[in-house]
Subunit: 425 residues, 2 copies
Amino acid sequence: MTIMEEAKRGIITEEIREVAKAEGIDEEVVRRRVAEGKIVIPHNPIHNPKALGIGKGLRVKVNANIGTSREYVNVEEEIEKAKVAMEAGAHAIMDLSTGGNLDEIRKKLLEVVYVPFGTVPIYQAAAEAIKKYGAIVDMSEDDMFNAFEKQAKQGVDFTVAHVGVTKLSVERLKKQKRIIPMVSRGGSIHMAWIIHNGEENPLYKNFDYLLEIAKEYDLTLSLGDGMRSGAIHDSNDRAKFQELLIIGELVEKAREKGVQTMVEGPGHMPLNHIEANIKIMKTVTKEAPYFVLGPLVTDVAPGYDHFVGGIGGALAGYYGADFLCYVTPAEHLCLPSVEDVRQGVIATRIAAHAANLARGIDVEWDKEFSIARQNLDWEKMFKLCIDEKKAREYRQKRLPLEEERACSMCGKFCAIKIVNKYLEG
Amino acid sequence: MTIMEEAKRGIITEEIREVAKAEGIDEEVVRRRVAEGKIVIPHNPIHNPKALGIGKGLRVKVNANIGTSREYVNVEEEIEKAKVAMEAGAHAIMDLSTGGNLDEIRKKLLEVVYVPFGTVPIYQAAAEAIKKYGAIVDMSEDDMFNAFEKQAKQGVDFTVAHVGVTKLSVERLKKQKRIIPMVSRGGSIHMAWIIHNGEENPLYKNFDYLLEIAKEYDLTLSLGDGMRSGAIHDSNDRAKFQELLIIGELVEKAREKGVQTMVEGPGHMPLNHIEANIKIMKTVTKEAPYFVLGPLVTDVAPGYDHFVGGIGGALAGYYGADFLCYVTPAEHLCLPSVEDVRQGVIATRIAAHAANLARGIDVEWDKEFSIARQNLDWEKMFKLCIDEKKAREYRQKRLPLEEERACSMCGKFCAIKIVNKYLEG
């Protein structure tokens, strides 16, 4: 039985208990929301990761994407990225490898990753189709479903399925006349397949079969976002919402079958589109957990997209997004390095924490920090920093000379010291 | 005559014309808003900087703080910071020096800074009081006003005056019981002076005299924010709003006298407080230009405060803040380096641009960028990047091998290439 099926029967599973404890929420509330599909706990018993809740009323979570490309295959580096991402506080890891021995890479990563582990099986189906048939579009329906089943069997906790890229949404996309029609790799594979073969997307047409696979392994489905906007100009358009409407129907089907499901979101999106996007998504999916990439609030800052995505992610989290997919500084430019991964996770954790604070969650962390600041208790502050090492390094660069408890910016002009003397002394 | 006085008489000055042209707005609209005090153009004829408009309907602008501390005095480095900040796109520079020969440093900086140049004269008054009397609180009223006049005479375009730190707001602050009562250096100097001397803040009591000085040099006053919150927990509280109410009255006085005035804002503030803060500020000041520091949306990320302030700044700009004071990664830890200054400016420019896009300004920039992306026109993209050098460096790190126009993340799986082939080909 899946966690969702157990929850529907009123059972508080071990995972539900762990999530409730970690979030400081009543177990029964978590159970009910899992049963309703408003919280997911991606947890394939074969992998058995740390229990992580994503969804209504919980902390905003952070996902880090890693993985080889067809051009750069260095498995040790990807393992290092996974470890660094988890150390930096990523709540989940997705392996998006497209180069090298994909099964072997996944196996090695699953051995070190102790948080929920996600994949995009269509990448493997596509990579194999190139080898087998010479073209992605010649893959068979079985090739697609087999990729999902193989990966679930290996222990993957959640997988992306681009079920909303269908004949209908592709038609809407054509009429949309976007600047950049599509930036989702998985989406473009399905779109090309649909056009080339003149057939409906098998993952949509035979969604019930996908649900059977998911159910067998308690694989959480992440219904993605082939139509996500890749340009500010293309944000919140008809193509995107067409896909969302299709996905909304499939979320209900999945819930009926007891399969945990979340929904993916954009993409490139100006600040003024974020609130509406999230409210509409939450309405048409009846509060499915929302997994957003960024959103990136401008197109023009490659090299800083971890930050651009952090601005959008903070706002998205505040308005109700549940799960932020990080972006690294290398986004749009090249495969990220280990340090890029670290920077991406930290930026996204800051965004998630800013959203949590705005929702009234984890306010004690900042309160404790500020009490330490008022006391000029540097050791305590460092220990509470989101990146302790970096903060210590900065302070060491220019240590204060005249007032050792102040900092070298203000020295004797430290407002806190003046205030302590006059206001309180 | 000040620009505001001329504007009141219906005159479109050269500066108004330049601002209107730069912003793509009708000259008459800019003139009227300058006359009403809804737009300021900080411009001391002695310095004669590039005309810069700040306020209603204009692009969100970015200010970079530089300056020596009492502990680290390296004038050449500060000059370098000013140059780097302007190259990176800062619209204004503030010299917050507190160490070394302040007049000499300011003179040298004014020679290289071609954008509006701001200061906090009370720092100089305080530094001199330590030398002269051994204690900041022993400075005389004349010492304070003389600092303003001397700096205006030197060519400073805008100065901070902490006129809202008064007996009344200090009383409210005491009753507030904040975690961190005060983090503003200027604010703490005035507060200490008020308590020590049992007298009202001279800048408040004799505000008319400050206006006379300002009028003589067309010095723009930036009414700051001694009560800004230095902790998320202390955000949007009674002490802050008490100060704002006092400042609102003084804004009206300044407008009557034809003195250009803007108002400063927080500080540390959770995402969910930003909209209300800005709407209230805009209401009680009848739409004075709003100059915000950050806001910083969490306390716990020293080392990343440029990013933390960027999240808050983007949202603040979207809701109506006009002028973002950058924060560097060194904030709260030490005096920033040249590279910290550059990172601070770029992060804040990204935030300002995200806000502009959300207000419908400069959308063509992103549109042009995305067209170049769709065409995989890398040269064009690099030229449109907010930091061209950084983007080029990243792409060079791992150049694509199999598909030279793609990037090394996706290679043959480049969605844009697949889409071009199937959707459009």
